[in-house]
Amino acid sequence: MEEELSGGDMLIRALQDEGVEYLFGYPGGAALHIYDAIFKQQKVQHILVRHEQAATHMADGYARATGKPGVVLVTSGPGATNAVTGIATAYMDSIPIIVISGQVPTDLIGTDAFQEADMVGISRPVVKHSFLVRDCAEIPATVKKAFHIATTGRPGPVVIDVPKDVTDPSNTAPYLYPESVELRSYKPAVRGNGRQMRKAVDALLKCKRPMIYSGGGVVQGNAGEALTRIAKRLNFPVTNTLMGLGAFPGEDDQFVGMLGMHGTFEANMAMHHSDLIFAIGVRFDDRVTNSPAKFCPDATIIHIDVDPASISKIIQADIPIVGQVESVLSDMDVILEAALEKSADLPDKAKLQDWWQRIGEWRAAHGLNHDMPLTESDVILPQQVIQSLYRTTQGSAYVTSDVGQHQMFAAQYYKFPVGRRWINSGGLGTMGFGLPAAMGVQFAFPEATVACVTGEGSFMMNMQELSTCLQYGLPIKMVCLNNQALGMVKQWQDMQYGGRLSQSTYSDSLPDFKTLVEAFGHIGFRIDKPQDLDAAMTEAFSPKLKDKTVFVDVWVDPHEHVYPMAIKGGSMQDMYLNKITTTQQGDYM
């Protein structure tokens, strides 16, 4: 039976009907009718943030951890513009979020009214789609479309801009939430093309130096199991992108680590020397490929992606397959299994063994290795902090990060057993993402261990959310690699600008983070001696502090850089291995 509801009530009702648990938001004039509708119900819990950017990151963290869309509500003008950074962050990493923004009343649009901003226009380049609602009767269908578009195909953020008159309680319309939605212009591919998949399987069976290069599409497409099954069947080495970590188990012997600008030596070398790149849910980002002209010179490229526009955008694919990664991998596995029954000697086992041996040699020569005893030095190395976190949490934590050196160290040294555990802003590289994203994860999984690896620079970009943590009792554990500088900026200045540290240090003006977090009602530690590291980490994650928000301020070696590091303009095998050695100096072939 249809009910008569106001626009505000319809919006919230539609969210209920979509099964939305949390609405991350901040009230303001143009959104007040909607906030009144929130007050009158209990099903959708509103989370009051301290800044709209954080609301979008929380919804984003929630979406990354659960696979369900995160939902945000902000007011017009500054509320909407503050949300844009978070929308762009979600867009670059293909994360489904719905952002509902209040707008000035329809008759004031275009008059430079108080708190007016053209949200549909401002957000246009960073949304998958957007709607401006003209009439309250459109609300149910618009919300349904928004969720459908955000969550299907290549996921992404959708904005719904709602003028205040549309939610006015004096306007009502019949409410009926549509069960399904049909858009004639939007029909994302699901299954891969059979001929292409058979061609791909054929190539997999004929190669000698294969690499599976998998990314965020495997995580977002819930295809980790399908990937692992096919990789195990073939015994091929697997590398994950920054966005794909966990899609293949980090501790598995077939895992060669992350690839790209700060990828492992063995992953980058193996990519460069491979004769077959099996690219799955990746987009050949410039932080992976280095110079596209020099990318993997000998390799045939199979590329699976749900978004046709990602295929052959940077690197021409020899065998493109458009479809949902999970569906394509499962179908290919069936084809592969049948093919292996006919010719069990493929792929060439001896050649594959040689390839594994070569990878092993690369790993032994320059693989990640910072597992040194803690007492050898009087400064803490940032890598050791991540190793300590990994040991303490036994690899089972959700780890969010901000952006910079700490992010790369976490990506290199924390081994994720499954996807959706590693949550970071890979595409846009948004500092200030880590804490609110961790909060979104903690809302989704109240009992889970959620760690935020951050740096003092990134943390200060959204630290106001410590107040929100107190309000909702979120027991996030923050681990701050405090190097008293904008570490990644400083690293580049050290390496490429003659050590001229332009605007990247502020050591004389840093707050005392322990006192700071205590002022917000939380627990703070400050560690600067290697021998105290494990004890502090253990205490931070102890049952005693299970319900507390904890900030561990770890003062680390400010001179440490992230290595390996790609040499600009080179191929994937061109890397700095440390401050004085590059792969171009020796014979690494």
């Binding site: 549909v120 226009g121 246009r124 789609h129 957007s130 004639r184 212009s185 526009a309």
Partner: protein, 163 residues
Amino acid sequence: MRRIIAVLLENEAGALSRVVGLFAQRNYNIESLNVAPTEDPTLSRVTLTTVCDDKKIEQITKHLNRLIDVVKVLDLFDAEYVERELMLIKIRAEGAVRDEVKRSCDVFRGQIIDVTHNTYTVQVTGPSDKLDAFIRAVGKTTILEVVRSGVSGISRGDKVLSV
């Protein structure tokens, strides 16, 4: 290389701005653009011309297809097609030049659609290069104003772009 792309677009507020925005955002160039509703009032047809190589045209069509408001995209260069553009051109026409302009107009099968004692306004239709040629023929010094519709294009034969 010059390419002509035809797009069927939902006839909705903001749809065209997404198409134009895409070109700006991805650093593609638009040489000409025209848009109007079709026989189905819920659909607009856009014809745009751009200059790019094969790799870029593939990206352009893929990204256009990715827009939710875009129903169909056709690269007219994929098959035989016809293109037309309309130009209105106001020309200073005094003394001996008056007859000369009229002769050029006849040669190009243009029509004089407005006349004053010292000007002609001429309508010329055809492929863009014919319009360019007319402009050259009448000479820069006599031209007062030019307005061109941008290219409209359609496939030859049975091939149709429809929902």
